[in-house]
Symmetry: C2
C-alpha cells in the first residue's frame, strides 16, 4: 500500500482496532479492497451494519478531495461474509465545498451494500442552532450494555461489537434487560471505543447503528435487519465519551424506523442517523 | 406508451396535475423518459426537489414488482432544466417483501439526481407503535402559505409549487412572514393538492420537501439547496388534508439539516423525511 498514491488519506492508527478493521487499500490493479473483520459481528457471524458503512465511508474519503463523510445513505442488499471485499467508488460530482460519490461494497457473493456518500471538510464552527444534549446520568451511574445483553439473552462468546465498543446504558432505558421494558422505544447510553481510540467522523457511521434495537424497550427482543440507513455527521467530535440516543419512530406492517442522535463530550450534537428496518419478530 | 409492457403501473389520473407532471413513459428504445414540468418550480426556474424525487420514485415503481416507494434516498447533483429527462433504473435486489434499485435522473446536462429506492407494497396495518399527531389549529384557522410568502417576499408570478399545493400554515409557525420569526426552526401546516387529488405514497416525496425552509422561522430568509434527502413512507395516506411539520436540526458550518413528519387526516403518521442542505445565506 502506497498512501502517497491515494487522493485522500484519513488518519489511521495501527493500534486502533477500528482503524485496522476498516482499512481500505489500493490493489495492484488500482481498485480498492478491504478485509471485513469477523470481530465486528452482532452475533451469529452477522457483521454490524454501521461497521460496513464505516468501511464504505473510508473508501469514499480516499477517493475524495475532502476529509470527512458528512452524509452517507446506504441500502443493505445482503449480509456480506467476513473476509475479502472490494469497494468501487464512482464519482458523481466534486466541488470546492463537497463531493458526491456512489460506493459499492461487494464480497464473493456480489454487492452487499450501496452507499451514496457526500464528503466535505468539517471545521470547528460555532453552531447557529443546535439541539442540546438530553439529561443522562453520568457514565459511572450507567451499566455496561454488554453485561445487560448477557443478562437478557446469555451468549458465549459475546458478539464482537459488544467487545469493541464500550457502551453504558442509562438505567431509565435498560429495564428490558431484566424483563421490565420501559414501554417507550428509546435506548440511550454513553459510548466509546474499548481500546480508547477517540471518536471521529468515520466512527459516527459505526456509533449510529450500535445500540440494541429500540424494540427491546417495548419488550420485543428480536433483531431488526436494516434496509436503508442514512448517517449525517454534523460536527467534529471532541475526545471522550459520546452520548448516543436511539428513538423508534413507528412500528407497523413489518417495518420499523429508528433515529439516532449523538452528542460529544462537550455536549455538541455531532451526528444523527435514521434507518428503516424490517420489524423484529421477537 | 403501452402500459401493458410496464412491470408496474402506478395509478395515474389525467386530471391530476401531479400525475401528469410526474409521468414516466417507456421510449421506443426501451428506456424511461419524463418531461420535467416547469410548473413545479420554487422560483427562478428551479424545480422543487421533492417533485424531482417523485418522478424518480415513479420510475422505481414502474420497474419494481412492488407498488409503493417505502424509502427513497436521494443525492442532488445539480438542478436539472425543465423539459426532457431520462431515467435509468438499475435493479439491485428483488424479493417477496421488497425490491431495491438505483435510479438516475438526467437531462441534457447530465445526471442531476441519484436515488436509492426501496419499494414494497404497503397495506392497512395497525401500528404497533406510532408517533401521535401534534396539536394544530384547524385548516380554517391557518393561513395560506402562498399568501404569506407573498407578504414576506413579493414575487410575481407565484412559484408553481405554491400554486399546485394548497398549504395552510399554523399561525404559531408563520410569524416570519410579517417580520416576527418565532425563533424556533419549526414550520407546520396542512397540505393537499390544489386540484383535489388525494395524497398517496408518491405524493409523500413531494410533500416532504414542500414547506418553506425552517431557517425562515429563525429570521434567515435565504434558500437552502438540498444535498441529500431521505423520505420514508410508513403508511398509506387516508384521503384529505395532511399535517406536515418541518423541524430544523442543527445549523452550523454552512450546513443545515431538517426533518419532516407527515400525518394523514386520520392522524396516522404516514411519512418522515430528513435532508442535509447547504445553509441559507439569508
Amino acid at each position: 500500500m502506497h498512501p502517497g498514491t491515494l487522493i485522500g488519506v484519513p488518519q489511521t492508527d495501527p493500534s486502533s482496532q477500528f482503524d485496522v478493521a476498516t482499512t481500505v487499500r489500493r490493489t495492484d490493479g488500482g481498485g480498492l479492497a478491504a478485509d471485513l473483520d469477523p470481530g465486528w459481528d452482532v452475533g451469529g457471524g452477522i457483521l454490524n451494519g454501521g461497521y460496513l458503512l464505516a468501511v464504505a465511508g473510508r473508501a469514499a474519503v480516499l477517493e475524495s478531495p475532502h476529509a470527512h463523510p458528512v452524509a452517507l445513505s446506504a441500502t443493505y442488499l445482503r449480509a456480506p461474509a467476513a473476509g475479502p471485499a472490494t469497494l468501487t467508488v464512482s464519482p458523481a460530482s466534486s466541488g470546492r465545498t463537497l463531493a458526491n460519490s456512489l460506493v459499492t461494497l461487494a464480497d464473493a457473493g456480489g454487492p452487499a451494500l450501496v452507499v451514496q456518500a457526500t464528503t466535505a471538510t468539517l471545521g470547528h464552527d460555532e453552531a447557529i442552532w443546535a439541539e442540546p444534549m438530553p439529561d443522562a446520568p453520568s457514565v459511572e451511574h450507567c451499566a455496561s450494555a454488554a453485561e445487560l445483553r448477557h443478562v437478557a439473552q446469555p451468549v458465549d462468546p459475546l458478539p464482537g461489537l459488544s467487545q469493541r465498543l464500550d457502551t453504558r446504558l442509562d438505567p431509565a432505558t435498560s429495564g428490558w434487560a431484566v424483563g421490565r421494558p420501559s414501554g417507550e422505544p428509546v435506548i440511550r447510553g454513553w459510548m466509546r471505543f474499548s481500546d480508547g481510540r477517540d471518536a471521529d467522523p468515520l466512527a459516527m457511521a459505526l456509533f449510529a447503528d450500535a445500540l440494541p434495537p429500540t424494540g427491546f424497550a417495548l419488550g420485543r427482543m428480536g433483531w431488526a435487519p436494516t434496509v436503508q440507513l442514512q448517517v449525517l455527521v454534523r460536527a467534529l467530535p471532541a475526545p471522550g465519551w459520546c452520548l448516543v440516543e436511539a428513538r423508534g419512530g413507528d412500528m407497523a406492517g413489518g417495518w420499523v424506523d429508528e433515529d439516532y442522535r449523538i452528542w460529544d463530550s462537550s455536549g455538541r450534537l455531532v451526528a444523527r442517523s435514521r434507518q428503516l428496518a424490517r420489524a423484529s419478530r421477537g
